[in-house]
């Protein structure tokens, strides 16, 4: 099997080595290797069907990989899971579910609660504080189905924040949200980075990549390029990922 043998690297928040994922016999992503340094904020970009979501889900073990190894903070990803939070696409759940906003955020406390742990006032306050960080404190007792798309996205991020994870992975956090929500989310994500935490997000709006992210991973079923935004996010490279479409918005 090709690909470098991973060495435990505690300074790397997430290290993917030779990861191949297939649906049936069709490979979706092939022998992907990528490193996400601690404290960095990476955009995973590429055209539709490039395998961005698939790569991240497989890295977390949510879908099976054919081959490859994934380490987080130097440990096998399953062992490092308590340090990782994942924000799925909004469409992944049924928002008619009988839950209030605060109930969903408190699901992020499960590792600390377990089956029998009591939801202490301290823990309740923590969950509430995460909502407040995203400007959603006033919505705590609303039914989740009554929220707008942007508000639902903020609830999902608040649930991830409640986990107090060192690595936060987001699948299209800005899809279909309004400008106010996008600003609230990006402020929180930059806040996480400032605390030394690591952020990885599947991202679609190429025009905001340089402003939001310090690193990029360009993907189209294989890794096209990986590195610091300033050096990697160049027209020629992006054009390769997107199949040589004209991309005048990107610096040459």
């Amino acid at each position: 099997m090709a690909g470098p043998t991973p060495i435990p690297m505690p300074e790397t928040a997430l290290a993917i080595s030779g990861l191949t994922v297939a649906y049936g016999s069709v490979p979706v992503v092939a022998t992907v290797s990528a490193r996400f340094p601690k404290g960095s904020m990476t955009a995973v970009i590429g055209p539709n069907g490039a395998g961005k979501s698939t790569l991240l889900k497989a890295a977390l073990g949510l879908i099976p990989a054919v081959t490859g190894e994934v380490r987080a903070f130097g440990d096998p990803v399953a062992r490092a899971m308590p340090r990782i939070a994942y924000v799925p696409q909004r469409a992944a759940v049924d928002w008619e579910f009988p839950a209030r906003v605060i109930d969903v955020v408190q699901m992020g406390l499960y590792r600390r609660l377990g089956l029998f742990g009591r939801l202490t006032p301290g823990l309740r306050a923590q969950a509430m504080a995460q909502l407040d960080r995203l400007g959603m404190a006033d919505f705590a007792t609303r039914q989740i189905g009554a929220l707008s798309g942007g508000q639902q996205q903020r609830v999902f991020l608040a649930r991830a924040l409640a986990q107090e994870a060192d690595l936060v992975i987001l699948d299209e956090p800005f899809a279909g949200v309004d400008a106010a929500t996008e600003a609230a989310i990006i402020a929180v994500l930059h806040g996480l980075r400032a605390e030394g935490r690591t952020v990885i997000a599947v991202h679609h709006d190429l025009s905001t990549v340089p402003a939001y992210f310090d690193r990029v991973l360009l993907l189209n079923r294989r890794v096209i390029a990986e590195g610091a935004t300033a050096a990697t996010f160049r027209r020629a490279v992006v054009a390769e990922a997107y199949g040589h479409q004209l991309l005048t918005a990107i610096p040459a």
């Binding site: 759940v93 009988p98 209030r100 699901m107 089956l115």
Partner: protein
């Protein structure tokens, strides 16, 4: 007749009626609470297939016990047979679902095959003249006639154990129903939770065999949950309300069935459950039809009057 119904309602219709009323209420309580989780995890049809898949096992257990010279209608024996048969049905369903067959088709295929096999075996039993039809027919639609004190105790214990388990597992069960992917990342064994929920549902089916019968138990799982959902937006409250609605329906249905001896208990309980659901759909605050009509009317009045 009205007197008989009223008598049955206040448990004056005799020892047996009281026993059946309490037993059916306990069953309704367990089925309502568990059914709230079953519907939210979208396992309603699966639970129906599981209930129907108990029939061949019941018939075979009857045959084995009768052939061994015992009482073919021994409840524990029938439950064992039903449980094994339902497990087989679930395994078969799991296999079918792994093919490209859509899930609803796999469920339909499993349900009809097992039920058909069960009816075939029941016919064999009748032709062998081993059992009076009344002996086994009650497992199809339920009956108040045959309930013994021991059966009621089994119902009470079964309901208590399943509800305790449900209470303990409520957090991971809710997380699995809402967002299984996130639940797994949070350390919840979602496959185990799904199996636990199926086991709890199976327990309801087995406990309900003689009260509601296997054909209609699905209604006691689903309808209280649907009704409760109209009254609350919180999972815990929905489950508790569903349990209360199920208990009320079980009690009223059993009383009705005692008063009208030709009416099997299952249909009586189901019709009462549906009535409670329909009433909820009408008058529930917020989501009820009346409340929504009123809200629309208020909105129309508040709007400035346009050209039409």
């Amino acid at each position: 007749m009205l007197d008989t119904v009223l008598n049955a309602l206040i448990l004056n219709a005799g020892y047996n009626a009281a026993l059946v009323g309490i037993g059916a209420a306990l069953l309704g309580l367990a089925a309502g609470c568990i059914g709230a989780f079953v519907t939210l995890r979208r396992r309603a049809l699966t639970s129906d297939a599981m209930a129907h898949a108990t029939l061949p096992g019941i018939a075979l257990a009857f045959l084995v016990m009768a052939a061994a010279g015992g009482d073919g209608r021994n409840l524990a024996g029938l439950m064992l047979g039903a449980g094994l048969s339902a497990a087989l049905g679930l395994i078969w369903l799991d296999r079918l679902s792994r093919t490209r067959l859509p899930e609803d088709a796999a469920i339909g295929a499993t349900l009809s095959t097992f039920y058909g096999a069960g009816i075939l075996l029941l016919t064999v039993i009748q032709n062998l003249a081993l059992g009076r039809p009344a002996g086994l027919d009650s497992v199809l639609l339920g009956s108040t006639a045959g309930m013994l004190r021991g059966d009621a105790i089994i119902l009470a214990l079964g309901a208590a154990v399943t509800l305790c388990l449900l209470f303990i597992l409520r957090r991971p069960l809710i997380m699995t129903a809402f967002d299984p992917g996130h639940a797994r990342l949070m350390g919840v064994n979602t496959a185990l939770m799904d199996r636990a929920l199926l086991l709890l549902t199976l327990a309801c089916v087995l406990l309900g065999l003689h009260v509601v019968g296997l054909i209609l138990i699905v209604a006691l799982l689903i309808l209280p949950a649907l009704a409760a959902r109209l009254w609350s937006d919180r999972m815990e409250t929905v489950a508790l309300l569903a349990g209360a609605i199920g208990a009320l329906a079980g009690y009223l249905g059993a009383a009705l069935s005692v008063a009208l001896p030709d009416l099997p208990t299952g249909p009586a309980i189901v019709m009462i459950t549906f009535t409670l659901f329909a009433a909820s759909a009408l008058v529930a605050p917020g989501k009820g039809l009346l409340a929504q009509a009123a809200a629309r009317a208020r909105l129309r009045r508040a709007l400035p009057t346009g050209p039409n």
